[in-house]
């Protein structure tokens, strides 16, 4: 007997079925789709496993079988360019290694670089970040602000859909669906930045986070895309913040007003880590910090 709370192999009541859950290593995307479709609610895709393995802590039951996507080469690939296609199983570490600076992928790379800590960044994946329902997912706001598409495979074939649409439908996705990649528009000249707020320096979920993506003409904002995470239950774009930035010189003052506009538009969740009003109150400062990196 070891230390720590029981895991799936030691607490049969944590599973909905007789015996501990098992793991199936899919040989291809099509194989994973077929197995997950067959399992229905008894199965779930497994990427880095950092979320699934903590199911007992969240008092959640394990599924009967997990379908591991690890080892499917297509899912770990990152194809840079415009658009950049990031495989579902790209880890935070792999994304963080893409480039530096504040180009079109800058916010995504910064989010990957600063999230959690090394052992999680080396293991946790892009798909885990967008398929798992948790408000603090660092990679989601940059992808929303980039107007990324989610590429999925299912028994019906392959299709792409808007990330925002995918996020709000996560509770009702078809059985057998697997996220294959995310396609991120990355036109030359676009600039983006990400800011997250934690109580300590790092190693924590953000209390609030923002991603800003802009197209500039001589410092003036031609188009702005702003996404906010960790404030509402599901990260989302802020049309009010975008309108506040549009057509203006991108400076700290404009960014603060964008943050105020976002705070007026969002309904913040309460939590032990921070009250709702605080998540809203910090948005002007976060947007200002993001803007300061872009000018």
């Amino acid at each position: 007997m070891g230390v720590g709370p029981p895991d799936a192999t030691q607490r049969p009541e944590m599973t909905a079925h007789a015996g501990p859950p098992d793991l199936y290593r899919a040989s291809s995307v099509e194989d994973a789709v077929e197995e997950l479709a067959r399992l229905g609610p008894d199965g779930e895709a497994l990427a880095g496993a950092t979320w699934v393995m903590r199911a007992p802590i969240r008092h959640e039951r394990f599924r009967r079988r997990y379908v591991s996507l690890g080892g499917i080469e297509e899912l770990t690939r990152i194809d840079p360019g415009d658009p950049t296609v990031v495989g579902a199983l790209a880890t935070h570490t792999a994304i963080a290694a893409l480039e530096t600076g504040n180009g079109p992928l800058g916010s995504l790379i910064e989010a990957a670089r600063t999230s959690a800590f090394l052992a999680i960044r080396d293991t946790a994946t892009l798909a885990g970040n967008i398929c798992t329902v948790f408000p603090e997912a660092d990679l989601v706001p940059p992808l929303l602000a980039s107007e990324a598409q989610v590429d999925v495979a299912s028994p019906a074939g392959r299709e792409s859909l808007e990330l925002g649409e995918y996020l709000v439908s996560r509770g009702a996705r078809p059985a057998g669906e697997v996220v294959v990649s995310v396609t991120v528009p990355a036109p030359a000249g676009r600039r983006s930045a990400y800011e997250r707020l934690t109580v300590r320096g790092s190693g924590e979920f953000p209390l609030a986070c923002v991603a800003v993506s802009v197209d500039l003409d001589d410092g003036m904002v031609r188009e702005a895309r702003v996404a906010v995470g960790s404030v509402e239950e599901i990260p989302r774009r802020s049309a009010a913040a975008e309108a506040a930035l549009q057509g203006r010189l991108l400076d700290v003052r404009a960014a603060e007003q964008g943050g105020l506009a976002a705070a007026g538009e969002l309904t913040a969740r309460e939590g032990l880590d921070a009250p709702g009003w605080y998540r809203l109150a910090v948005l002007p400062a976060l947007l200002a910090r993001a803007a300061a990196r872009l000018v």
Partner: protein, 154 residues
């Protein structure tokens, strides 16, 4: 079904459920007690091991994902009867007190030095964010890493 594991260059066979955390397999089924379990939530870093060169919180890593991979634990760091330079440095700099966090810290820092042989102090501190130590205050550990990077482990 039995699974083959490659740990520190040796082959092992285990027959346990595939979702059993690797940390527990190492300690309970293979007798490799160097890897410690602290929080069991992937937050403290004491169970960190390397899997194909990646730093992994082995309390959250299912055995089934480790099959076929090259696993490295603290037992594999030094040679026969000898410590690795990083271990020597942490010892000589006074970077070990109660020792519970030490194996995980060693594995994190081994990965850091393999990726970045001459890290800046800030880089070392950032790498250690996920390794909690309640005794040393980190200064001596950071000093040890910088000494190894400078070729002065002792």
């Amino acid at each position: 079904m039995p699974m083959q594991l490659q740990i520190n260059g040796r082959q092992y066979e285990v027959d346990v459920p595939s979702l059993k955390p690797l940390a527990r397999v190492l300690r309970e089924d293979l007798g490799l007690m160097g890897t410690k379990i602290g929080c069991y939530e992937g937050r403290c870093g004491s169970c960190n091991v390397l899997v194909d060169g990646l730093v992994v919180a082995s309390c959250l890593f299912p055995l089934g994902l480790a099959e076929g991979a090259a696993i490295r634990t603290v037992e594999g760091l030094g040679g026969e009867g000898a410590l690795a330079p990083l271990q020597e440095a942490i010892l000589s700099h006074g970077g070990v007190q109660c020792g519970i966090c030490t194996p995980g810290i060693l594995m994190t820092l081994t990965a850091l030095l393999e990726r970045s042989p001459s890290p800046a102090e800030q880089e070392v501190r950032e790498a250690l964010v996920g390794n909690l130590c309640r005794c040393t205050g980190y200064h001596k550990i950071v000093g040890a890493v910088l000494a190894v990077a400078a070729g002065r482990p002792a």
